[in-house]
Symmetry: C2
Subunit: 258 residues, 2 copies
């Protein structure tokens, strides 16, 4: 590749790293109705029969100057990656704050704020609530592994109250452990939560921490646990031993605003 | 009634005000397995066929010295108040921190802490999470109206991670408005949450506030809204306009611990 091709490739990759594909008629309509949403391309199955909701979806896409493409059923399935639930509709949305990890690292980490690392969050409600709270509070990035937990699907989008489209999310191709090692190398402190710790969350200086949030039942995985350099507790009353993971995320995200 | 009868009546009423009846085989077993649970009485339908889970429930009740009563189906339905889902089993649990509003007011309010008033929370997950966070954080009482919202049922108990049995809950017979008026008379500030407010939650001195949490879709009801004497906001970034109601409850409950 010559220099110009390489730049073009890079720009194209950066663009597509920010694209989130939503499928299903009601989820697509609801996503298109989120204020400020950036619609790149609407995909429709040629086999779709006429329906009011499709007219509404198409009208919003046209009004926003989005490209509209028609596909045969097989091609649409490849785009939605969920032929059972796409109902002949998918839309590519541009999420300006989505990043790859390497892009995030290249941009430099000064002032980016604390990071939430999701280690096997399986409940879509929890994932959506975490994204909503992180976006509203002070979180620099959410590390979302591509495997082993809930992915951004219609349930997650709903629970996020539409905030997922403007949330600072790093979608990982590889596993979480590798990402944590890279973040540690550039100065982040990998921090777990433990009710047995002496140090409290409030004693943890903000800015260069990666807080690891573990699976709802099994907690943080062994491999990730080994990478934790610090552990903090959230002091609890009445013998309560743990909080819901989305509540924990919110307390981290808002700890300097309360 | 003479004095002794009146005292006895009062003691008995106080006792039953702290009783929570749980029904259904799995929910009853899970409740009995909560550490420190106080089992008053186990109710079984005479029509129950033998089943391992019933043996397990009975064994735990016996081990804890709980009274075991057998009823015909109609009588059990009156106890569970849910014949469709009780599966022939109900248990009366003693929740030491449950109160009536008049009892709470009689005890004096010094040092009792902020109160959460639930105005039409309908989602059982949210109610359970609110109870869990309130119990773990610093909340003096949760005002739970008997109508117009989710009640303490198996889903709520599960979402509360068993904390409901030790949470400071005031179950209201009457409506929320009347309760708020009574609390206002003894010095509580009825406080709503509003993103339009100038005052932030962190500026609100802890201790004598009733924070009103409204319905997930419609917010605080008009009648309750009129009773609010103050409104505070939780500052949010990235144009996010609201938080999940259970997250809001957690931020209130932990605002002095972070």
């Amino acid at each position: 590749m010559n220099r110009r091709d390489s730049d073009a490739y890079r720009a194209k990759k950066q663009f597509y790293d920010r694209v989130l594909t939503v499928y299903g008629r009601k989820p697509v309509l609801e996503a298109l109705q989120v204020p400020g949403i950036n619609i790149h391309r609407l995909h429709l199955a040629e086999s779709n029969k006429r329906a009011p909701i499709l007219d509404e979806i198409t009208a919003i896409a046209e009004r926003n100057g989005a490209e509209i493409r028609h596909h045969n059923r097989a091609a649409l399935s490849r785009i939605s990656k969920n032929s059972k639930q796409d109902q002949g509709v998918a839309v590519d949305l541009l999420c300006p704050r989505f990043r790859t990890l390497s892009e995030f690292l290249e941009q430099g980490i000064q002032d980016s704020g604390d990071i939430l690392a999701l280690d096997g969050i399986t409940n879509p409600q929890n994932l959506g609530m975490i994204i909503r709270s992180a976006c509203a509070g002070s979180i620099g990035a959410i590390l979302l592994p591509g495997k082993g937990g809930a992915q951004i699907d219609p349930l997650v989008i709903k629970a996020s109250a539409g905030t997922v489209f403007r949330a600072p999310i790093i979608r990982l191709d590889g596993g979480l452990e590798n990402a944590l090692e890279q973040l540690n190398k550039v100065g982040y402190c990998i921090t777990g939560l433990s009710s047995h710790s002496q140090q409290t969350l409030s004693e943890c200086a903000p800015g260069k921490n990666v807080f690891v949030l573990g699976n709802e039942t099994h907690g943080v995985s062994d491999g990730v646990n080994r990478l934790c350099q610090a552990r903090v507790k959230i002091p609890m009353n009445n013998g309560v031993e743990s909080l819901n993971v989305a509540v924990t995320a919110a307390l981290i995200a808002f700890r300097n605003a309360l």
